[in-house]
Symmetry: C2
Subunit: 335 residues, 2 copies
């Protein structure tokens, strides 16, 4: 039983544009006419077509979310948190799993542009995105990875440098002598900063930095782990670039007969849910996924409502020790 | 540089409604006028406002996806496949992670209704959804779980009954004598049918069916595993209701000192990605997640294009043996 704006106008004895003005509060309307219109709206349960309203108001209560690869649980969990926070604020999300395909990202941004989305939360690997999106009118919030040249309204990330330091210092506390860093892609601030943290701790203790490169990806992690064992046969501590890679490294270590943490200790990064579900449970660096995702949505809402917010948002990290590392004191107790 | 439909009409020397007719192919247009309009569209790169087009066509190239809980990787993977298939067909998805909240599902369906979405793919736990969505005009495809009273255009599921049978027969082939089924919720066809398959194999072999109840959920799986060991201390084979629960069961078994598969063999269900990433890798029943998700999208496209499709779609399942089970012959070889 859809009723049109024309029908509301007819019943109220006013013009359709008067009904529009009443509904949008955009201009003065004769109070008597306003009363009549509101009465008809109330009686008929008239709900304006959401598309028509979006056209008028240039808003569709939609937030776009672009993730590079939802199979990396870190992004899957961020998307989940964003969806929940958006829902709590009467927003819906349009999800794009870009798979690092810039064309796909562009097409999704075009759709969001045309739908008058109120904002886009971008977590992407595309370095050349900025050059291509051109005159997009929608405000962007960038989460996790800085993209050069994009004119974002805000940037949110965790303190990767501190995380890298903490992970390295923890493995040293655990008595590891040959600690190898599987570093993430150096084109991302996350990969750079974590590695820098590791290197600085090495320097401070007069240790030689030892590393291999790896993407933030399970399959790449398998390959990197094989290479690591070949290149550093004396390794007794491994810093994986994230939890997905730590899961891969564990599989290789176990298949080669290494015990974790007795022979080789292993640190993840992110604290995705599976790092706790796994057996053994992973020691890892905690990124505050829930808080970061919620803030991204909050910033878009504040932008829409013309409220102020911070442009640069750095979240603190922490270390959680579970079963893949063991501090020296604890190891001694066990003996 | 947005150009309006009026401007296109002016340049082509026709009326705006003629431009509309050319673009939508909805009525006959004088071939000469059509040529002129197409030339102007081509020259100017005119892209009609997507919202305006949706209003006209009652379509917005959007598909809604409602999942009960994206933390169950089975649904996360289905959502990912659906998004990819939709993208390949110029569609975008609006994602709702309903967390079994009927109100949230209703609000999302209302948004989709107003956006003139072309279809909704529903995987939900809400039994009372049908009563509440009322006169939704959008076609529904139901994936994985039958919902009574919903007037869906198509239903897609895997052969849960066969999967339940195969899992049980496999554990028997592996030499298990005390096989306990952790059955999923009996209000869902998936839970019912898998359990029925288990029971029928028991009956055929004169075995007593042994079971506990559990939701399709990791946390519930921990509790169920504790209860199972208390209630069935002689258990040597476990059929978990899905892979997430199998991951929980493994953790409990390992913490109690049971070896898998030497002491207790363990079967999952679904073949989520993590069942392979885990160490040990899980033996499980393969649901064809990719094919099921792609078909759901294809059916909506066919419905929109008024092509024919099957209403009931039952996908075959298969068994994949990995490291949590071992056939008797293989066990003997190892000795």
């Amino acid at each position: 039983m859809m009723i049109s704006i024309r029908e509301v106008a007819r019943r109220a004895g006013v013009s359709p544009s008067t009904v529009s003005r009443v509904m949008n509060g955009t201009a003065n309307v004769d109070p008597i006419k306003r009363e009549r219109v509101l009465a008809v709206i109330h009686e008929t349960g008239f709900a304006p077509n959401e598309l028509a309203r979006a056209l008028f108001k240039k808003s569709s209560k939609i937030i776009g979310v672009i993730v590079p690869n939802i199979e990396n649980a870190f992004f899957g969990e961020l998307a989940r948190v964003i969806e929940e926070e958006a829902y709590q604020n009467q927003y819906r999300i349009l999800l794009c799993n870009s798979l690092n395909d810039t064309k796909k990202e562009i097409l999704n941004i075009q759709t969001l542009n045309r739908l008058h989305a109120d904002g886009i939360i971008i977590m992407t690997n595309s370095e050349n995105l900025a050059a291509q999106i051109g005159n997009c009118q929608i405000p962007f919030v960038i989460l996790d990875r800085k993209i050069e040249g994009l004119d974002e309204i805000a940037f949110i990330e965790a303190d990767h440098y501190k995380g890298g330091r903490m992970a390295m210092e923890h493995l040293m506390d655990c008595g590891c002598k040959q600690i190898v860093c599987i570093r993430g892609p150096q084109k991302y601030s996350s990969g750079q900063q974590r590695f820098l943290g590791y290197c600085d701790v090495c320097k401070e203790h007069g240790l030689q930095a030892q590393w291999l490169d790896c993407d933030y990806d399970y399959e790449e992690g398998l390959t990197a782990a094989e290479a690591l064992l070949a290149q550093y046969p004396d390794v007794d501590g491994i810093l994986a670039c994230n939890d997905m890679v730590a899961i891969a490294v564990y599989k290789i270590l176990q298949s080669r007969g290494y015990r974790v943490p007795e022979d080789i200790q292993l640190m993840g990064f992110d604290n995705i849910r599976f790092s706790r579900l796994f057996t053994p449970e992973f020691s890892t660096i905690v990124q505050p996924i829930k808080e970061m995702g919620a803030l991204a949505v909050q910033i878009i809402l504040k932008y829409v409502q013309e409220e102020s917010f911070e442009k640069e948002n750095l979240f603190d990290v922490s270390l959680i020790q579970r079963q893949t590392t063991r501090r020296k004191a604890e190891a001694n107790e066990k003996q």
